[in-house]
């Protein structure tokens, strides 16, 4: 059992259909989240296995505020541990990625192995019988924390919790097949970048799970009829509400629901076409005619397939009002040149300059700024009612309600 929350806050009486704005603003909420969620019983995405291609390779990342080293040892096993020296707390590993036999803290040359064990202490016995650590000294008591690591179809996750369920059980049977669908063979990294979001991390996860916004905020979608809510699609939500997956099938939408409702994003489909539409050409590589699949795992992981663009997005909170979104775009090892070209052209759809994703950082930042004086007010999350579960309609906020149900469970609020 978690201890009672120390937060002096009460959730609005409406329950699942309201999210009070203090959740995005309070320093104490942020601190509590670090402990209960990021360093608690949640599994966090760490990297792709493809980023640790050989024995003795490593990559550095974050789980919430905690700096983490992820390694593959000489025998090929994966490990993750806190990037903090047992001695004085300095970063043990300064480089973003690479290969190493050992990890030596630069400060006083305390050395760690790939499992994060303290291997040697410089001058532990002093020099010429003088100095050094006392015989009964146990600096290992302050050793870097070790994470449980699990790899799922090439995606590497970690948790500090010894009692968290297995990664498969954590994700659950509704969402697992949708991960397997994308991660169907060995991947190769195409590149990475970071988008800095001027908002609380949960506003980004809200946004990802909000199937209602996609075709209303992102006009590129509707202008080119890539994703309209009138197209066939749906949303899966895991039983506990924590994870979601939404998809859209490839059909040319010739209806005019947006035009009838006078939507800002309504079309000009007749007079607004791309001069060079090669960018939108999709090969049905998964054989199921799904053109877009957006999948999220609590607390901060997103796996996307947007046409032939594939990516892992990792959410890294950087304080109450700042979030880093680490994008890793990938293809498959056996991609032919035509597929590689598609993925490169469709890189234009995503990321900070993405035709259909650039607005997300702006919109969530607008919420952060809009609610500045309204900690006592709440957002209204009633699209599709008040239930949490899978739906064949995307005009619903069911997955957003699932996020908050989960968050409240972790936070005991």
């Amino acid at each position: 059992m978690l201890r009672r929350s120390t937060l002096q806050r009460a959730w609005p009486a409406e329950g699942a259909t309201r999210v009070p704005y203090w959740v995005y603003q309070d320093e104490d909420v942020y601190r509590e989240e670090q402990e209960r969620i990021w360093r608690g019983a949640a599994w966090s995405y760490l990297c792709l296995e493809a980023e640790l291609p050989e024995p003795q390779s490593f990559i550095t990342t974050f789980v919430g505020d905690m700096p983490v080293v992820v390694t593959r040892d000489a025998n090929g096993a994966l490990h993750a541990w806190e990037n903090r020296c047992a001695h004085r707390g300095a970063l043990v590993c300064m480089e973003a990625r690479g290969k190493a036999e050992r990890f030596a803290c630069i400060y006083h040359n305390w050395v760690y192995d790939h499992e994060g064990n303290l291997a040697t202490v410089a001058f532990r016995r002093g020099i010429a019988g003088k100095g050094g650590l006392p015989a009964d000294s146990k600096p290992e008591t302050q050793a870097p924390k070790k994470l449980r690591v699990a790899s799922l179809h090439g995606l590497v996750f970690g948790t500090l919790s010894p009692s968290a369920p297995s990664l498969e059980d954590y994700i659950g049977p509704d969402i697992l097949p949708r991960i397997r669908r994308v991660m169907k063979k060995p991947v190769k990294v195409l590149g990475t970048y970071t988008q800095i979001l001027p908002n609380n991390w949960k506003l980004y996860m809200d946004n990802v799970k909000d199937t209602y916004h996609a075709s209303l905020l992102h006009l590129f979608f509707t202008r080119f009829r890539i994703n309209r809510l009138t197209q066939k699609g749906g949303v899966f939500v895991s039983k506990d509400g924590a994870h979601h997956c939404t998809f859209t099938e490839m059909v040319e939408d010739t209806g005019d629901a947006y035009e009838k409702d006078g939507m800002r994003s309504a079309g000009s489909s007749k007079d607004f076409r791309l001069e060079n539409p090669e960018l939108l050409e999709q090969a049905d590589e998964f054989g199921d005619r799904v053109s877009i699949q957006i999948l999220s795992l609590f607390p901060g992981f997103v796996l996307h397939q947007i046409r032939n663009s594939l990516a892992a997005r990792q959410v890294v909170p950087k304080g109450v009002e700042r979030t880093e979104l680490h994008w890793t775009l990938f293809g498959f090892e056996d991609d032919d040149p035509a597929m590689q070209r598609r993925r490169i052209l469709q890189a234009n759809l995503v990321g900070p300059a993405g035709y259909i994703s650039m607005e997300d950082g702006a919109a969530t930042g607008f919420v952060q700024r809009g609610v500045a004086a309204s900690a006592d007010r709440a957002s209204v999350i009633e699209m599709g009612g008040s239930t949490i579960g899978s739906s064949d309609s995307r005009v619903t906020e069911t997955a957003v309600r699932g996020l908050w149900q989960t968050w409240r469970r972790y936070m005991d609020l």
């Binding site: 590149g191 006009l219 590129f220 202008r223 791309l274 775009l329 035709y355 650039m358 702006a362």
Partner: protein, 155 residues
């Protein structure tokens, strides 16, 4: 160094920067040859030999599509850039071709007057000198892997 060639290339860079900073986006594709390419990437991806672009356009039609989308589809807070382009090294590669390496800084100015050093990096260009000087290829290598909020206006 050929002083005349240096001036021609620096003039091209200067006109390009002023067009973007003055929100004359419609002129932007005209700085490229018909099949000219434009690619924004990061120093990290470039050093790792990874092909991922942040933004990529091949030919003027794709460049015009980017402008059309910025004008008619994408939504972003009003903002301007100020480009500073310097340290231009030009090399002649043929009678009508040259390459250029230059540094850039881009300050982003929001409507609330907040100014941010938005990007720094290098332009690596292949330039066709005739009939008009234009970019056959412009590669924008950003020093940082991080982009604040979004990258709408081209660099």
């Amino acid at each position: 160094m050929e002083p005349q060639l240096q001036l021609v290339v620096e003039h091209l860079h200067a006109r390009y920067a002023h067009a973007l900073d003055a929100d004359r986006l419609e002129e932007w594709p005209q700085f490229f040859t018909e099949h000219g390419t434009y690619r924004i990437t990061t120093a990290e991806n470039e050093e790792r030999g990874l092909p991922l672009p942040v933004l990529y356009a091949e030919g003027r039609a794709m460049l015009r599509d980017r402008v059309a989308s910025l004008r008619h589809a994408n939504i972003y807070e009003p903002q301007r850039y100020r480009h500073l382009v310097s340290s231009v090294l030009v090399e002649r590669t043929g009678e009508h071709t040259a390459t250029s390496r230059a540094n850039f800084l881009v300050v982003r100015i929001m409507q609330n007057s907040e100014s941010l050093l938005f990007a720094s990096g290098r332009y690596l260009d292949r330039i066709a000198l005739a009939p008009e000087p234009r970019y056959e290829e412009r590669v924008v290598i950003c020093d940082s892997r991080a982009f604040d909020t979004l990258l709408a206006i081209p660099l």
